[in-house]
């Protein structure tokens, strides 16, 4: 049985529909990352699961118990806030002990649990300090410690890394993953950063304007994105999109820029001439001697690789980004090819993947 089940959740704020029909279920010990741009509704969804907001319709079940109208204080869920929300007037120890004291644990139990968590997070030396005496990274760990000691049924993470600087973010990201695996607590993690999503999640839920765009494992999302939004969101630099038309009985696509691309994984249904969007990632574009010519606009050397920004010839002068290993090639014109095994086919109007 799933640990967390969210069924039919919708949320309206007045006239605006912030969440449309969200359904998901998490297995025990699983970490689901909800990812999307700002304003897509991910934080709202998290807060609904936490109980800090009420859904307009829908049901939340935690470990078989319907918690949809239960007060957050009674849900047995712990949350790590974006700005940590530590109690400023309490020491680190008291911050972590607070929830346990409310639950009536004995002094010894509390001390034991807090010390254990402090050990896990390297907070031992800070137990007597107040939040204002800590650095950002330390505060973040206290926030996590506060959640861990509760030993809840569910962890909620609300963009916990966004206030950290880049190097700290990378390190803490790995720590969170290790910790979650070790403790085996079911977790829901919200972020706008697709790298975090890819590295942390057992599964991803990509939200686009309140709508679930895709719910799948990271590799599945990367290799078979469900629509152009997901395709463009995951992976950096973003996937290139080229306008094309369906042709040859659904067996090929004619790029507006000229060349013909054959599908090697089967025909697509649809009329001759249907507008398509062909997607290909910058790292999959190949330099090919007699390929399609592009004019180079800008070269960005990154050291171990190079990003080339260019433009296909007319019509439309579609722009393109290519990621090449090694140094930049000479010249103003390059010729490239699109390997058939790496192209993604989307319907130009709906954006949905066509198989």
């Amino acid at each position: 049985m799933a640990m967390l089940e969210v069924t039919g959740v919708r949320k309206n704020f007045g006239e605006t529909e912030v969440l449309r029909q969200i359904d998901l279920s998490l297995a025990s010990g699983e970490m689901l990352v909800i990812v999307g741009a700002s304003g897509c509704g991910k934080s709202t969804l998290l807060r609904i699961v936490a109980g800090l907001e009420n859904p307009s319709t829908g049901r939340i079940m935690l470990d078989g118990r319907d918690i949809t109208s239960v007060d957050p204080a009674a849900r047995d869920i712990a949350m790590v806030f974006q700005n940590y929300a530590l109690y400023p007037h309490m020491t680190v120890f008291d911050n972590m002990a607070y929830g346990l004291r409310i639950r009536g644990l004995s002094r010894d139990d509390i001390a034991h649990r807090v010390r254990e968590a402090a050990g896990l997070l390297g907070l031992f030396d800070f137990l007597g300090r107040k939040p204002r005496q800590l650095s950002g990274g330390q505060r973040q760990r206290v926030a996590m410690g506060r959640a861990i000691v509760r030993e809840p049924k569910l962890f909620l993470f609300d963009e916990p890394l966004s206030n950290l600087d880049a190097t700290l973010r990378v390190r803490t990201r790995a720590e969170i993953r290790r910790l979650q695996r070790r403790l085996g607590v079911t977790s829901l993690y919200v972020t706008h950063d697709q790298v975090e999503a890819m590295t942390l999640g057992d599964r991803l839920l990509v939200l686009h304007q309140g709508r679930p765009a895709q719910l799948a494992t990271p590799m599945e999302v990367f290799e078979h994105p469900a629509d152009t939004y997901v395709a463009g969101f995951i992976g950096a630099p973003a996937m290139n999109f080229l306008p094309a038309r369906l042709t040859q009985n659904g067996g090929s696509a004619r790029l507006d820029a000229g060349p013909l691309l054959h599908f090697i994984d089967g025909r697509r249904s649809g009329n001759e001439g249907t507008a398509l969007t062909i997607g290909i990632r910058p790292e999959h574009v190949q330099l090919v001697p007699n390929g399609v010519p592009i004019r180079i606009d800008l070269i960005e050397p990154l050291g171990s690789e190079t990003l080339v920004h260019g433009r296909l010839a007319a019509p439309g002068e579609t722009s393109l980004v290519i990621r090449l290993a090694g140094k930049a090639p000479e010249g103003e014109i390059l010729t490239i090819g699109f390997p058939a095994e790496h192209i993604h086919v989307f319907d130009a109007e709906t954006g949905l993947r066509l198989n």
Binding site: P72, M79, Q82, L86, P88, H89, Y98, I102, R150
Partner: protein, 293 residues
Amino acid sequence: MERRTIFGHQLLPLALVAPQFLLTLIFFLWPACQAVWSSLTRQDPFGLHSQFAGFDNFVELFTDTLYVDSIGRTAFFMAAVSAVSMSLALFLAVFADREIRGRTIYRTLLIWPYAIAPAMAAVLWILLLQPRIGIIGVWLNRNGVAWDYHLNGGQAMLMIVLACAWKQVSYNFIFFLAGLQSVPRSVLEAARMDGARGWHRFRTITFPLLAPTTFFLLVVNLVYAAFDTFGTIQALTQGGPGKATETLVVKVYRDGVVNLDIGSSSAQSVILMLGVIGLTALQFRFLGRRPPG
């Protein structure tokens, strides 16, 4: 003096500061010095000569039971007004902080009394509690309670405490509301997630975080009760019956203006001055600021 000063002019700033400086000199420092000097002198019965009397005036005050009584009375009054006013204001602010409909209207209706003059508050309360014309006062008397604060000292004290506390609730309300709103919402949410409900959450999280506001208001309320209440008390009871509602500031007025005992009232003024300085210094020590109004 914490910024990198920008302009190098010398005369101009002196000219700009001059008006305030002059006024401060003439209407603060000079009178204060005079008060200190007068408190150290004694006048003859006709007010023609005055001679240096050292701390005699002060000694006389502190051995005068009437004065000592006045101190006790004022202390009680200050504590009562502050306690009543602040608790009521906090209570209302907590509910006005919630997200309910009509919140703004409630707030406006609770803030407007700030505009009332202390003396005017007296007029309003007369309509409620005056024994012969006040709605509640008349009702009490008609129903067997002998209510007349012109005759009963205890009732008079009750009356002025109520009237003075009532008037100050708005001010406290404004600050408590602002204080409540400055408690970060996410901290309260974290407390909720940790399992803290209602009253427990208020007691362990909200109230401690409100401490600076509370302390600041306490000092302001004490100073208010000691000084700004003059108008209300004067209008309601004139310090009576007898001396039942004669607080220190009312006594200064009576002794200095009505009875023309300069030496004694100056000494009283100096004592009050020291009290205010003490309180304000305390406040600055802990908070580092003081508001206008």
